[in-house]
Amino acid sequence: MATATGTRTIHIKVKRYQPDKDAKPYWQDFAVQAEGNDRLVDVLNKIKWEQDGTLTFRRSCVHGVCGSDAMRVNGRNRLACKLLVNDIGARVTVEPMLGFPVIRDLVVDMEPFFAKYEKVKPYLMNDEPAPRTERLQSPEQRERYDETTKCILCGACTGSCPSVWANPDWVGPASIVNAHRFIFDSRDHGGAERMQILGDRNGVWRCRTIFNCSEACPRGIHVTDAIEEVKRAIMFGTTDIA
């Protein structure tokens, strides 16, 4: 195994906030013994379990598929379970994602995020009676929207987007990714409806192609490219674009 191991001390600075106790957020430093192969989420758990049981964050699968532990690490949105101690150096700052109301410490309010997701009608629309077996779809048609099916709704893209910071009402990149997943699915008939929603002033056009979202995505989705594809589909009135 190539990765270096060996125990070392990590200095981690966490932005704390407990609304029933603190007037405003503050920074707290922790020193933790960690191995190079430990995940950042393991380090946070060590703090919680060994030093300070009040440290609060979400986590579940701890291997990058459930999307619970998106947070801002050294200024970038990351999943704490996809980041190894080897990758983050000896000094780390951890804070809640920007653009979301903070509930406590690293836990942010995801309700507005899911409300925006629901706005783009993120489900297959097809009123034709279903056949007895499967609807057919060629491997090429299936490949067309493969990338945007990877989204785990962690919010890392939306929380990294300056357009979202400036205007919390904007649908944001994650919603557009999920609209893209259906707009380019050959089985779906709801494209026009979704493109109308996204053609609105709080739709795709508030994207300024800053590319923070693509950098933030822990699933490797080229988010900005997906948004551009939706923009072009709206502009040309067709999904039949290169």
């Binding site: 195994m1 379990w49 579940s60 990058g64 999307g67 619970s68 509930i103 406590r104 057919l136 709704l153």
Partner: protein
């Protein structure tokens, strides 16, 4: 008191819970309670596929699938349930496709299918392509698709509510009590129907593929309220977990042709299972690995072997196994294009759980007496379709088939004649008392007496690994019974720090730890009493299967006092396939 009233309350928002909700959303008042946001549920971590005898790639029949399920489960499977599972899998997979699930496709546009462990053609002749899949993130796609449909059907969710208690009154399930994590309030949900779809408890072992959230909440809550737990000793270790971290590397890798290699570079599975080789069922492959390690053929003499995909080529790896090869890169720094990946067996799946009949109705005893208004589906339940060992891909089949069946039965048969049973007096008293006493203990803070909950959690996980893992015997299991009793005591006096009612995850974790200990108790008691080896339950002191004495399901009833659970047994349903020796 925060009071809510619904016809149906579903606890758990993974595949089984959402599938049930889908059957009910149109015409009943239904709420889904989940301690996570639905898309965080552990269904999303399933990788390889969902089995159904569609026959898109080669001849296949549901009866072959049924036979494989029964044989794979070492004949502890209830065969009426296995028939339902495999027949209805076909329509359930088409339902998912119609709802938009992005399955991989064949050249002619049908759902693509691939090989998986233990799935054979013509009753064991050789591997068959039966697993319908979406790359190596089939569970993610199922969870996303089900959640999308829930949004479409405007299902009411209570997200980040931790279920604490089940209410039973007048012989009927009538509600649950839950903690709202966001503000620490206690909520009572009054309902005609309760569905538990809360998943498994892999976090009871040190090496596990399971999420931190997999803490057996539904099983423990039911067990405390007098519902037995069935076949809990049947716990599956998946052969290929990433070394030390336990993260799952799907059997799909072996389905696509990956090898397991010992330190001599030998494909040792060929020696043990000449027909199915690496695609023998999971319980067997896990034991092959343990035997290789025990006999000194682990890599560098250590406790792991290699999974090698390098010979499949970059193109196939990227198309069929992108996520799991990323796990190897990300967490072990291994490049699977060129290097073999270190793996070891990892605690993965509960074949046992809350006993149900084939409609998802919860069963209270060995006479199959149902508890009116109470249903369970998915990993939390034991129908039993998996018997002593689940086949790969059959967990997702279980979710969709029995989640669907429970929902349909509630809508068509139960609700038309059901009424609300009155709540018991002070319905939230037990839950409130538990939460308040834990918060009171926390007010002593870090200076308080007692050990941390982490000390207890580690002791549980290490001891379960040591004493109730892939290989078991009387001595270790007896020691573990004592250990579990000791951990229960220690749980009562541990030290807590967080007094806040706002998103108190320490409180959540300590309640979850208590649930894990309950599940461990039933597991170890069942394992100690089952003096035979069957499926995932391997006793080195009783290495053969004993159909004369143990072709039956264990039911563990929690003791009212502090003692070990009472064990009773119920017969296995055998319809078509008489027990035979299991060879692959």
């Amino acid at each position: 008191m925060n009071y809510h009233k619904y016809d149906v309350v579903i606890v758990g928002a993974g595949g089984a819970g959402l599938m049930s909700a889908m059957q009910l959303a149109h015409n009943t008042s239904v709420a889904v309670i989940s301690k996570l946001y639905p898309t965080r549920s552990h269904t999303g971590a399933a990788q390889g596929g969902v089995a159904a005898a569609l026959g898109n790639q080669e001849e296949d029949h549901w009866k072959w699938h049924m036979f494989d399920t029964v044989k794979g489960g070492d004949y502890l499977v209830d065969q009426d349930a296995a028939e339902v599972l495999t027949r209805e899998a076909i329509d359930a997979v088409y339902d998912l496709e119609h709802w938009g699930l992005p399955f991989n496709r064949t050249e002619d546009g049908k759902i693509d299918q691939r090989r998986f462990g233990g799935h054979t053609r013509n009753f064991g002749e050789g591997p068959v392509r039966r697993s319908c899949y979406a790359a190596d993130r089939t569970g993610h796609m199922i969870l996303q698709t089900m959640y999308q449909q829930s949004v479409k059907n405007q299902v009411k969710f209570y997200n980040e509510y931790l279920m604490l208690d089940l209410l039973i009154n007048d012989g009927q399930a009538c509600g649950v009590v839950a903690l709202c994590l966001r503000d620490g309030t206690i909520h009572t949900f009054h309902a005609k129907t309760i569905v538990f779809a809360t998943g498994g408890y892999g976090r009871a072992w040190r090496i596990t593929s399971n999420a931190l959230a997999c803490t057996g909440d539904g099983m423990a809550v039911a067990y405390r309220r007098g519902i037995p737990l069935e076949d809990m000793e049947m716990y599956q270790f998946h052969p290929t977990g990433l070394y030390k971290v336990g993260i799952l590397l799907s059997e799909a890798a072996r389905g696509e042709g990956a090898y397991l290699l010992n330190k001599d570079g030998e494909r040792f599975c060929v020696r043990y299972a000449p027909t199915m080789e690496e695609l023998a069922p999971r319980d067997m492959v896990s034991r092959f690995i343990v035997q290789e390690i025990t006999e000194g053929r682990g890599i560098d003499g250590k406790d792991y072997v290699y999974l090698s995909v390098a010979h499949l080529g970059k193109e196939k790896i990227d198309a069929k196994l992108p996520d799991i090869t990323d796990f190897a890169r990300n967490y072990l720094g291994v490049e699977p294009y060129y290097e073999p990946v270190p793996i070891q067996p990892t605690a993965h799946y509960a074949m046992g759980g809350i006993p149900t009949d084939i409609e998802g109705r919860v069963i209270m005893d060995e006479n199959n007496t149902t508890l009116p208004g109470m249903y369970a589906a998915g990993e939390v339940a034991c129908v039993s379709v998996h018997g002593a060992n689940r086949l790969g891909t059959n967990s997702l089949v279980d979710l969709i088939v029995f989640g669907r069946r429970a929902g349909k039965h509630i809508a068509a048969k139960w609700l038309p004649e059901a009424d609300f049973a009155p709540l018991p007096p002070n319905p939230d008293a037990w839950a409130t008392e538990m939460v308040e006493s834990l918060l009171a203990r926390a007010s002593a803070g870090a200076k308080g007496k007692g050990e941390t909950q982490e000390a207890i959690r580690q002791d549980l996980r290490d001891s379960m690994m040591e004493n109730a893992g892939v290989v078991r015997d009387e001595q270790h299991l007896t020691a573990q019974m004592a250990k579990v009793a000791e951990l229960k005591e220690r749980w009562q006096t541990m030290r807590l720090m967080d007094t806040s009612r706002t998103f108190n995850t320490e409180l959540m974790e300590v309640i979850e730890l208590g649930n894990l200990i309950e599940c461990a108790e039933a597991t170890v008691a069942g394992a100690l009493a089952r003096q035979e080896s069957r499926g995932a339950h391997y006793r080195s002191d009783f290495p053969t299967r004993d159909d004369k004495n143990f072709l039956q399901h264990t039911l563990a009833f929690r003791s009212e006092t502090a003692g070990a659970p009472e064990l009773r047994y119920k017969p296995v349903v055998i319809t078509e396939f008489q027990p035979k020796e299991r060879k692959y």
